[in-house]
């Protein structure tokens, strides 16, 4: 096992830390395969990926990763129950058409699910909407409202509600600041919801 390369996105490291070494994982929306690579290199994970963009799939397959071209909204239905130890959705939840259905499938296909997402409740986002009267555009959410692929934003508290609705148990949760550092764990939900730029949840079926 090697230390992650220094340029690795810090939120991916946080996700990877939640995965048991030697397990089987499916990364939904795996992009260029950075997380799959990290999981294989640092945790010996047998990883698979689904990616919508042709370029992402090509990059992954050219790196020797097992990735299929597909869509989280339509293709998860084809996976059998309990096929993986973990199903991971990293920074993709907000781009799905049916986040609840996607989450339900994740909890069906995997014994655990890991979801990381941008927190729309962060104070900077609230401030843009409240004081400037504009749809927020931040460093991590850099799209204008008319061309964003992100169609289903939520806050940390919204997501917690969704986990209850789909009957998931939260095993771990993290809120990360702008640099990907975890906020103190003993802060109340409202503080995470205000100060966390991103959140990472480890869920399992009840």
């Amino acid at each position: 096992m090697t230390a992650p390369a220094p340029q690795t996105r810090i939120d991916l490291v946080r996700v990877a830390e939640m995965v048991e070494p030697g397990s089987r994982a499916l990364d939904v929306g795996c992009g260029d395969g950075a997380l799959l690579r990290l999981l294989a290199d640092t945790r010996g994970v047998d990883g698979r990926g689904i990616e919508l963009s042709q370029k992402g799939v090509h990059d992954c397959v050219a790196k020797g990763l097992s990735v299929i071209q597909g869509d989280a909204d339509t293709d998860l239905v084809d996976y059998p129950d309990d096929a993986f130890d973990y199903v991971i959705l990293s920074q993709t939840l907000q781009a799905t058409r049916q986040p609840k259905v996607v989450l339900e499938h994740m909890l069906r296909i995997g014994r655990r699910a890991i979801v990381s997402f941008p927190n729309f409740g962060h104070w900077r986002i609230r401030a843009q909407l409240a004081f400037r009267g504009r749809m927020p555009v931040t460093e991590s959410l850099s799209y204008a409202w008319y061309d964003t692929p992100n169609i289903h934003f939520c806050t940390i508290r919204d997501f917690v509600d969704l986990t209850r609705e789909v009957g998931a148990r939260i095993e771990k949760s993290l809120a990360l600041d702008g640099k990907g550092r975890p906020l103190q764990v003993n802060l109340p939900w409202w503080a995470w919801n205000l100060l966390g730029e991103q959140a990472v949840f480890l869920l399992r079926r009840k």
Partner: protein, 395 residues
Amino acid sequence: MGGPAPNLNGSTLEADAPSSLVARFGPDRPLRLDAGVGLTPLTIAYQTYGALNPAKSNAFLICHALTGDQHVANRNPVTGKSGWWETMVGPGKPIDTERFFVICANVLGGCMGTTGPASTNPATGKPYGLDLPLVTIADMVRAQAMLIDHLGIETLFCVAGGSMGGMQVLQWVASYPDRVFSALPIATAARHSSQNIAFHEVGRQAIMADPDWRDGRYLAEGVSPSKGLAVARMAAHITYLSENALHRKFGRKLQDRAARTFSFDADFQVESYLRHQGATFVERFDPNSYLFMTRAMDYFDLAADYGGSLPGAFKDAKTRFCVVSFTSDWLFPTADSRAIVHALNATGASVSFVEVETDKGHDAFLLDEPDLFAATRGFIDAAARARGLRPARSR
């Protein structure tokens, strides 16, 4: 009075005396056919490239398509042209002959030296014609397995092929799950579609409507249903391309003339092109073999052989898969490849799936497609690492 003049084009010469390596299997080892009979004797004509390593772990089998042959990466003895997959196979190519021992056999029922309808039936001394039992994709693969046994190879590092070759790849994994380490089915399907059976039927009817077909006995009678075979090839060739590719290449351009001739001459370039495709094809392919090949594809329905469940066909496989399709392929559309991928997902297999963006249609797998090369190279290199094969020489 002498017999009819022998009708020997390049392929009928190759059928009994191939310019290839040959493996012969006598009456002690008949090939059991799906049609319920044994075939003996059996000849398999094949080519190899590169060297088998001492561990015999680097064997790479290529399965050819409907009108392909074993001459993957060498000058073709009939056409004089370069091998049909030299874009993909050779030193430093994705299928690297400096690393892998590449094998390609002429398929059962073919006309380039493996036993087929143009081969001489030892029982009669005449070409088999329609006396050869119909063969299936599974029969072709069973024959290839006999060759692989003959070469002393237990497990193939990879089995790759496009179109009908891809069907054989899938059949290999289904029939011999422990003998295939990785599989690369390209532009193919786990079953032949109704539309594709329909196109094949048009081709067969064109051949059988030619008065020189003579119920399949044309070789013995010294004639050839060349017109019928040419029409079959012309129709099929359209399905290998795409509307965009045809339009880009030919548009409505006229052939060597300034104006329409108000006749049924080949006014349009696209007509002239198709006629040329038909005319050159009949020089190298046996009409009965065309009937046999198309029928084998029509009969292919892998799920049907496993209780209607495609995942059932792959349930024992530890094989690593890379499935490739092309956006403009309407003969084996991406949906066909997705059906394979879904079945593999259901078994928890290791599978990659790439849809290559191109307007070149089904034939794209034979053409210069950098995205195809990048994806297959990445897949093959990763599989080679997992198999413990030495890395590619850096270039």
